[in-house]
């Protein structure tokens, strides 16, 4: 059983300082007077959004690839070679099959230690991710403006996959592109409104990790991955 401690006294004190009784009725959000967020990159086609994403990738130290389902295995294989991949951890996602990646994984079995994220492995998943050269997962919503992939974490897609390996590869179906954060938060807001359970962790990831903590020099790769590649896949 979860507990909430000291709530009434705390909230009543707030209400008193605000000079009124505690709010007991539902507070409706006002209609905000301006909404500049909706006009950013409005009315662009998916292809135009991909172009913007590609450009943004240069700013976020992220390699960008564009491919189709047919060529995806080769594209991914190339990226894995650049990263000299010996071991990798992959979100266990039905799209791996749909996008034809299972044959590639089978053919790479002898070269690369391929680990699919599995519930049954428990904490071992984390240790494997910590040792892995590469982590791979799918983006659910991709934000063109900022170059961000949105990851919905679940039992087949651990938080560690995009965090602990040295490099991270995001698989981005072209249909997931939207202009910016606004469209992603709107979608999540609607899920909440419809009573759906939001994931325990939603991660907006934009390129590799970085820090400017030493003399304001940008250092790419601190706690999270040091390299990142986005692969946009034609899926229409």
């Amino acid at each position: 059983m979860t507990k909430i401690y000291n709530r009434d006294a705390f909230l009543e004190n707030i209400a008193r300082h605000l000079g009124r009784k505690r709010q007991t009725k539902k507070v409706e959000r006002p209609n905000w007077h301006v909404s500049p967020q909706h006009s950013v990159l409005r009315g662009l086609s998916q292809d135009e959004l991909v172009d913007i994403l590609e450009k943004q990738c240069q700013e976020i130290h992220t390699a960008f690839k564009r491919t189709n389902i047919e060529n995806l295995p080769k594209t991914l294989h190339d990226v894995l070679s650049t990263y000299k991949t010996k071991s990798m951890v992959v979100a266990n996602d039905s799209r791996l099959k749909r996008f034809g990646l299972i044959p590639l994984f089978n053919s790479l079995k002898d070269e690369i230690n391929i680990h699919l994220w599995e519930e049954a492995n428990g904490k071992k998943n984390q240790l494997i991710a910590e040792q892995a050269d590469v982590g791979i997962s799918f983006s659910e919503i991709t934000l063109a403006e900022s170059g961000t992939v949105t990851l919905f974490i679940n039992k087949n897609h651990g938080r560690s996959i995009s965090l602990m390996p040295k490099s991270y590869i995001a698989l981005i179906p072209k249909s997931t592109l939207v202009p910016r954060l606004t469209q992603a938060t709107e979608r999540i807001h609607n899920q909440v409104k419809n009573g759906e359970q939001v994931p325990s962790c939603i991660s907006f990831v934009t390129g590799p990790s970085n820090s400017a903590d030493i003399e304001m020099n940008l250092i790419v790769g601190v706690h999270g991955p040091m390299h990142a590649t986005y692969i946009v896949i034609e899926d229409a």
Binding site: R7, A9, I14, W32, P36, I188, C201, F204, I219, V222
Partner: protein, 479 residues
């Protein structure tokens, strides 16, 4: 009292800041970089003023209905398996967290950067019950190794150079490589990985909580907050009670304002939203989650003329443009909240007694107010503080003279001063017409009501100050 970082007086600390050459240069160049980044982003996004207006409107509505949104948040967190503790005072929060540490028999606690835990003095409380506390933010970790307080809220180790950092690593952790930032960072990564994997409890702050779903969000670049919320089985999140938004839609606006204003990024590397405990079948994330919501003097600010201070989203933009911060550095403010926002907030949380000089640590140039992404009228609040100190608290008006003495000291540092004056000019640009400011923001406005105010830099601020001093020796603004 934990807001204070040293017993040295403000005067002494000001001097220390000015004498530390590296620090001053570092601050100046950081300010330059943050500023130009912010300006580019603000231009790209278009309608920056609309964004700010929206940010302000959201913050005002949220604070005016804070009890409602906190109730909703705590219900949602509870539904998702989290415990919620409302802490009126710092000690209440610390005692609750100490209790968890004892129950868990935790040996090691790893933290990600958080101002509020600093404010309540949590580290010391944790050490009292025998826990090892590891700060995992790169800058904070460097400071922790050296037992040094932070000097900037976004890049806390701004006052240290890479040679000093190499030395610290060598002395404290047996580091043998060079002072190259990449090598230093790689070493920190390896060292901290071990800490993450062996820790019992993770403690985080919170940028924004989302009331409608109980999500806690972190806006970061390094990834340590993700580590802290991925590996340990117990997670404790401490949030100032005002760090909340109604729904995910407002989260969008405030995150966008924060990253642009703070570091000039469209978004940071990681914006992470954690809701309650891990779900069935998941490996990563906590199985036990506690949210500690802290008042610690904030409620006193509600319903007063200072309420907008609680709108602050801790972006540090006001710090980065402040000519006084540029001269004296973060430590001189003697508070964990430096710069203009610190000068307004610290006396509110801690009382005038402990921070009576702070409202004077400003030239009232208004640059802070102009950049604030949620439009807090910072310099007007500083004037209000001064007024209250004189009128209500009966504090000696001699302070004004003291502040002037301090001001002369900063101003006597020629190189730094010129830089500050040069910066003041672009900040004032929109109001400059034919080299005379006809209508200015804030105190300039008050000045310009009476007489035209000469634009800085053509006549430098300093020269103007001297001349003005002769004309009106005992006033530094019209009150």
């Amino acid at each position: 009292m934990t807001l204070k970082i040293s017993d040295l007086s403000y005067e002494e600390r000001v001097q220390e800041g000015i004498e530390n050459d590296f620090m001053r240069q570092a601050v100046a160049s950081a300010q330059g970089r943050f500023r130009s980044g912010r300006e580019t982003r603000a231009e790209e996004i278009g309608n920056w003023e609309d964004w700010r207006a929206l940010g302000e409107e959201i913050r005002r509505h949220t604070l005016n209905n804070l009890d409602y949104y906190l109730e909703q948040l705590s219900d949602e967190v509870s539904k998702r398996g989290g415990h919620v503790f409302f802490a009126e005072k710092a000690e209440d929060a610390n005692a609750y967290i100490q209790d968890i540490v004892k129950k868990k028999k935790a040996k090691k606690v790893v933290k990600s950067k958080s101002m509020v835990t600093e404010e309540i003095g949590l580290n010391q409380a944790l050490e009292e019950v025998g826990a090892d506390v590891v700060e995992s933010d790169l800058g904070e970790w460097i400071l922790q190794l050296d037992d040094d307080p932070p000097s900037h809220i976004v890049t806390p180790a701004l006052h240290k150079n890479k040679e000093q950092i190499r030395e610290t690593f060598a002395k404290k952790r047996g580091y043998t490589k060079s002072e190259k930032p990449e090598e230093l960072a790689l070493f920190a990564r390896e060292q901290l990985r071990e800490e993450f994997l062996s820790c019992d409890i993770g403690i985080t702050g919170c940028n924004f909580a989302v009331a409608e779903s109980g999500a806690i969000t972190f806006v970061t670049n390094e990834g340590n907050a993700r580590m802290v919320t991925t590996i340990p089985d117990t997670q404790i999140t401490v949030m100032g009670m005002e760090r909340i938004v109604p729904t995910w839609e407002e989260l969008d606006i405030l995150v966008s304002l924060l990253t642009r204003a703070a570091v000039g990024q469209k978004i940071t590397s990681y914006v992470t939203a954690i809701t309650g405990t891990r779900l069935a079948g998941e490996t990563d994330g906590p199985e036990e989650f506690h949210l500690v919501i802290v008042d610690n003097g904030r409620s006193k600010i509600l319903g007063t003329e200072f309420q907008s201070t609680l709108h602050c989203i801790r972006c540090a933009a006001c710090i980065n443009v402040c000519p006084v911060y540029r001269h004296i550095g973060g430590h001189a403010y003697n508070s964990i909240y430096p710069g203009p926002i610190g000068a307004v907030l610290s006396p509110l949380l801690d009382g005038y007694e402990s921070h009576q000089e702070l409202p004077y640590a400003s030239t009232l140039c208004g640059a802070c107010t102009e950049v604030c992404p949620v439009k807090i009228p910072l310099h007007e609040l500083l004037i209000l503080h001064r007024k209250k100190m004189v009128e209500e608290e009966k504090m000696s008006p001699k302070l004004e003279q003291l502040a002037m003495k301090g001001y002369a000291k900063w101003a006597s540092n020629a190189a730094a001063y010129k830089m500050g004056a040069a910066l003041a000019r672009p900040a004032l640009k929109p109001w400059i017409r034919q080299e005379t400011i006809k209508k200015g923001p804030g105190p300039l406005k008050e000045w310009t009501v009476n007489r035209d105010f000469p634009a800085p830099a053509k006549e430098t601020f300093r020269a103007w100050f001297k001349k003005r001093n002769k004309e009106a020796p005992h006033h530094d603004e019209d009150l």
